[in-house]
Amino acid sequence: MADVSKQAAASVAARGPAGLPPAPAARRRKRPDGLKWFSWITGGLVYVFLTLPVLVIVLSAFSPESYPQFPPRGFSLRWFDALLANPAWMAALKNSVLLLVIVTPLTVLLGTTAAYALARLDFRGREALLAFVLSPLMIPQVVLGIALLYVMAGMGMAGSLLGLAAGHIVVALPYTVRTASVSLAAVNRQLESASMNLGAGPWYTFRHVTLPLIKPGIVAGAVFAAVTSFGEVSVSLFMSAPSTITMPVRIFSYVDQTFDPAVNAVSVVFIAIAVIALVIIEKTIGLTKVM
């Protein structure tokens, strides 16, 4: 079964993807193509499935009714007002923002330095070390949460903002390592060599040559770290005390008990942040490169 693909792959390997002659134009005659239509329609449906839930919560957030309604009858900002007037939501927002401000710079610092070192060092086990740094992505989140809860409780840091920050950094670190690595792979190494040949030390070179070159990757990494921290709930739920409840944790307990459009209004805030994050990533490193 794989014979065709094997040969095809082999011929690409031999000639390179660009080396194949273009197919004769006569072979590409236009005809009604059922398969193509089928792909378009099923593909479109998948995107609808992906988008519809988000669209529905955003639109029903502006409903004046006391339960989510779609299509909304009328337009009202009452649920946004309710949000601003509720001290519990505001306290959660304050905690989330505070955490984000602690987590983002530290994650970027740890992630960028690690990505640089792993890109420049050449030793046996480099791949294994990289896999270790990226491993929080693959560890079941419930396990990560309970392990951190246990160690934080032992250190008397359970429920503290610092404990939560440590958890968020573990979860966000792989993203900043990845974005910095993508940028680093595009850096011309001769620029670094030139700097060092001219007598600059490794620190000076890193600071004045490498860092400016990988700035887009660092900015994208910062956006990922901030967004991850702001939305993190799986690890936070284990570790937050009543005084350190974050937005997602509060949403979790709220949704668990009630069902009203206040959460829709919060969701709109989250979705707006995601869209802003997307724009920043697209403008810096390009969406296609990091995802």
Binding site: M1, A2, D3, S5, A8, V12, A23, R27, R28, L35, S39, G43, G44, V46, L50, P53, V54, V56, I57, Q69, F70, L110, A114, Y116, A117, L118, A119, L121, V133, I139, P140, Q141, V142, V143, I146, A147, L148, Y150, V151, V170, A185, G201, P202, G231, S234, F238, I251, F252, V255, D256, N264, S267, F270, I271, A274, V275, L278, L287, T288, M291
Partner: protein, 296 residues
């Protein structure tokens, strides 16, 4: 990220500097990932009395409980099947989505599709799960719509079962399956399928014998990520599956937070880690073999 041929050896001072830069991250991960893991492993080997007090000495009693009782064994198998099913569905749905992304007629359309695909990933999982509650609840939007259309009289019960969990899982994790698949699809030169067709193969034959095998790595990568995510998440099933679903992550959460039987929660955690590790390893081995077979 490996630079291949351009990799020049750093001078000794540069190498020392690189290690120096790496050390804070390694120390951090040791403190907040490795040490917690080791402590949790130790905890899973402790015994508890009937009041859940931890007893001196170590033993396998928690693991015997996990693998010996039908409740936990059932949760383990259910978790495994639900996660594998989610991964399979994600890969199936990812194919047309990735195809559309790669074959988008204009740059703008492609960017829009990309935004649709990536923006859910940047939105908290609580929000995405909440969206499904709004849709599937008894007084939710789907029931409303069906009632208004006169298709049903009494609202359907769509929440609080495993189907709701799987639907939400698939939507929440689908982008993770689409992205690697789109990368795989995008890397296939157009000329390959044209060559196949000019040699007389039909479109469907070409798809199954040229395109599909070449995208298997992308499919497997996506499946591995989705499986690992599904096996470890407890927020979505807690919120829309109900607390009684026999899923391991829910059980772990309840044992740790509500019952405060940490040794049992730890043993359940390592059982989950073991099972997902085995599946991820097996899928990874298939992936490696396939790449070796295809590219030599």
């Amino acid at each position: 990220m490996s630079a291949g041929a351009t990799r020049a050896r750093l001078p000794a001072s540069g190498r020392g500097f690189a290690w120096l830069l790496l050390s804070p991250t390694l120390l951090f991960l040791i403190a907040f990932l490795v040490v917690p893991g080791i402590l949790l492993a130790g905890l899973s080997l402790r015994n508890v009395d009937s009041m859940l007090n931890i007893q001196p000495g170590y033993g396998l009693s928690q693991y015997i409980l996990v693998f010996g009782s039908t409740t936990y064994a059932n949760a383990l198998f259910t978790t495994l099947w639900v996660s594998l099913g989610t991964a399979l569905l994600c890969v199936l749905l990812a194919y047309p989505a990735a195809w559309l992304l790669v074959n988008a007629p204009t740059r703008t359309v492609r960017t829009v599709l990309y935004v649709l695909l990536v923006s859910p990933l940047l939105t908290s999982v609580v929000i995405r799960t909440f969206a499904w509650i709004v849709l599937l609840a008894q007084n939710g939007l789907i029931n409303d719509a069906l009632r208004n259309l006169g298709l049903i009289d009494t609202p359907l019960r769509m929440l609080w079962n495993m189907n709701a969990v799987i639907i939400a899982y698939v939507q929440v994790m689908l982008p993770f399956a689409v992205l690697p698949l789109a990368t795989s699809l995008g890397e296939i030169p157009q000329s390959l399928s044209r060559a196949s067709m000019s040699l007389g193969a039909g479109r469907i034959h070409t798809f199954f014998h040229v395109t599909l095998p070449l995208t298997l790595p992308g499919m497997l990568t996506g499946a591995i990520i989705v499986f690992a995510l599904a096996a470890g998440s407890y927020i979505t099933p807690l919120l829309i599956g109900g607390r009684l679903q026999p899923l391991l992550p829910i059980t772990i959460y309840q044992q740790a937070v509500q019952i405060a039987n940490l040794p049992l929660a730890a043993a359940l955690s390592f059982s989950l880690l073991l099972i997902t590790g085995i599946v991820v390893f097996l899928l990874g081995a298939v992936l490696k073999r396939w790449e070796k077979r295809t590219y030599g």
